[in-house]
Symmetry: C2
Subunit: 431 residues, 2 copies
């Protein structure tokens, strides 16, 4: 990664510093605590969630350090007193963090992240942790459904323009994790080594005197290993112009409007008739998992997906929460209605049949699940004593997810609304 | 602004550089062009959109400059050839940009941004422009409806944890523009001078041996000018504990769960009974414009809104597009089905009754609307010859929006689904 990313200590909510200040004053700041990140539920009808953003979280925690100007800003705006700023000056997280690996599946109640350390050092990471995981997991969870719907055909992520300019970079990364083939976003290419792709927009055709002139300009620059966008004026004529200019060895055409099933079928027939039997067809235009699935029988070679993936296809946030579950070894939980949580540090395993199919997740508070054949532990270290542990590459996480999606019961891959693919059984130690 | 933000030239889609390269090669890159940003429609049932992000766009265009490492990245990954990189080395946008002011309303077809310059210099700004405006306008448009629903009661934006960590900062800014009173996001405080607020979470109560101990710690640090969160265990007891510890001059309590109408009513009665007649009630917990409206009769003094505002309350992107509309003075438009656009540079005015109520927006392609009494021009300069013009402050934009929401027909402020508050009449010059 050749770009320098900003420090993160102000990517927080005001109340984290208020709580820190009050806890420093009364001495409770140094109490050993355990915080946990989990989701109370999946988005309505979804059957699994995909853990994403762990790699970004690790980097963001490494950048949670205060420069003098950060401290002065907090003091001058009355967020903290000088004494608290003094404590923050040398802050770096020195505790432990355990996580579900990036690319792992999660379900309601899965203890995705466990943060252990003093109250003071852990409470400051709440908002940053949730922002990253809620965004990236929402995108990866939606993108994984699109990948399933595409049945092996590649998908290009091209939604940068429909989301915040920095969120776009993270969304490209999350979509690639979920199995997308490439992204349009160049910064995601630089920062995370996601393959990038792109050829031309309608503007390039409109810039020229004719569609033929535009195609000729593109071929002159890139040869026939390019994609010509054929629907600026009339698609049939566009395809004829494309093959006229590029010849039958043109790599691909793109169709971005109209009834894509009908258009692709007509395009395939015409391309074959023109001798361009190997010219591929790329379709785009407001595709989501449902419209991708509906094109399964159409002669499509590649999909371009934009808006739906970057906004999580109806679920733009994963709604994960960051809760204090243990103080000095004692389990704690909020008890007011509707928001009850299970206290205590959790240990989680996923159980499997001898065939390898997952059957349930067992989560035990303040203890270990009884061992059974086929158990796979779900939590791995991310930080130990404040030191980042070696992490998998993005491609390794991508492969992990691919394997996990094979391991769940087949109903779990259906696009229709349903229950979580496997249940999470929550127990207290000794139960 | 004391933070250095990153350069933006790679916050783009790959195809912008591909088009640039082909256009440089065939000489079309230098053709004078006009691009336009507009929305084909509002989110379903919405009656207006709020233009937001113009100030951020101006800054981001100023940061669209190439360092040598950016160029080397583009070359090494095969995005552009050396010759194109040479052209990019001294790139800076030298054209004109006209905009609807930040805080202005827009409707389907409103020419929100008009970018004039060579094809080469304008085409590179497509993705960055759309990312910023689509995100910020989506948030401001949702937030403005919440402000209307709150009927003058202040709203605190506290959704940072439910969106990407950088999007969160922009969302705080957009919500403040829309009339929110403050944000929880500290970086938004630093970067945009948005007032910040926050006191404590349930974790702070759980950290302590008892709720009373937690309240005492908070009061010891901040005095009674603070907000005690009373719903960790039992709300009634929580309120009693709060007043026991803080006395009847406590500024406010916060309730974050349960039926907020019932809870607020009970809390008000109890506070009054305890002599805390001036202690205010803040409510939070998955509030959106509808649940805020439903609390109009409840004794609530302030709302905290999180998830709904940062995800645009059902419309997470404004779906604005960036289209080439004019080349060398000639109007151009894509003609394939469903995506027809009107070519030509547009001039827009909003018409008003003598009472000041807006009646329609008139948009003329390649000409000027006929002048009528009550017309207000909608487009103002943002860049002239590549130089940023003096811009309004965020508070001025906030005031502009407040006035504009008064100017539209009253039906336009209804939360229920409906047509755009005023129609946009699109004409060609001479029609």
């Amino acid at each position: 990664m050749s770009v320098t990313l900003p420090r993160t200590p102000l990517y927080t909510d005001h109340y984290e510093y208020t709580m820190l200040e009050a806890a420093l004053r009364d001495g409770s700041a140094e109490r050993p605590c355990v915080f946990e990140v989990f989701g109370r539920r999946l988005p309505t009808g979804r059957r699994y969630g995909v853990v994403a953003g762990i790699g970004r979280l690790a980097e963001a925690i490494e950048r949670f350090r205060f420069a003098e100007e950060d401290l002065q800003d907090l003091i001058s705006r009355g967020v903290v007193a000088e004494s608290t700023a003094d404590w923050l000056r040398d802050y770096r997280f020195a505790g432990d963090i355990d996580v579900y690996s990036e690319g792992e599946l999660y379900f309601p109640g899965s203890p995705i992240v466990t943060i252990s350390g003093t109250f003071a050092e852990c409470v400051l990471l709440e908002t940053l942790t949730l922002s990253i995981l809620n965004h990236d997991s929402a995108i990866a969870s939606a993108a994984a459904r699109m990948v399933t719907a595409a049945r092996g055909r590649p998908i290009l992520e091209m939604g940068s323009r429909r989301t915040h300019e920095s969120a776009a970079i993270a969304a490209s990364r999350a979509a690639y994790l979920a199995g997308f083939a490439a992204t349009s976003n160049l910064e995601a290419g630089r920062r995370y080594d996601v393959p990038t792709a792109g050829t031309s927009a309608h503007a390039f055709t409109l810039l020229h005197e004719s569609e033929t002139a535009a195609f000729a300009a593109q071929i002159a620059s890139f040869g026939t290993e390019t994609t010509l966008l054929v629907d600026t004026y009339d698609i049939t004529q566009g395809i004829r112009n494309a093959i006229d200019v590029a010849g039958p060895r043109l790599r691909s055409i793109r169709i971005d409007s109209g009834d894509l099933d009908v258009m692709a079928t007509g395009a395939r027939e015409l391309l074959d008739e023109l001798g361009a039997k190997d010219t591929q067809i790329v379709v785009s235009g407001d595709l989501d998992e449902y419209s991708i699935a509906a094109l399964a029988a159409a002669p499509v070679d590649m999909y371009g997906a934009g808006t739906a993936v970057v906004v999580g296809s109806g679920a733009p946030t994963a709604q994960l929460v960051y809760k204090l579950v243990e103080v000095e070894g004692r389990p704690v939980a909020k008890r007011s209605e509707h928001k009850g949580t299970t206290g205590g540090r959790k240990t989680a395993v996923r159980r499997h049949k001898p065939t390898g199919t997952a059957t349930e997740e067992v989560v035990v508070s303040q203890g270990e699940p009884e061992h059974q054949t086929g158990d796979k532990p779900l939590q791995v270290p991310l930080f130990r004593g404040g030191e980042l542990t070696p992490q998998p590459t993005l491609d390794e996480s991508r492969e992990l997810l691919r394997q996990r999606l094979i391991s769940i019961p087949w109903e779990g891959l259906k696009l229709s609304p349903g229950d979580p693919a496997i249940p999470v059984i929550m127990r207290h130690a000794g139960e």
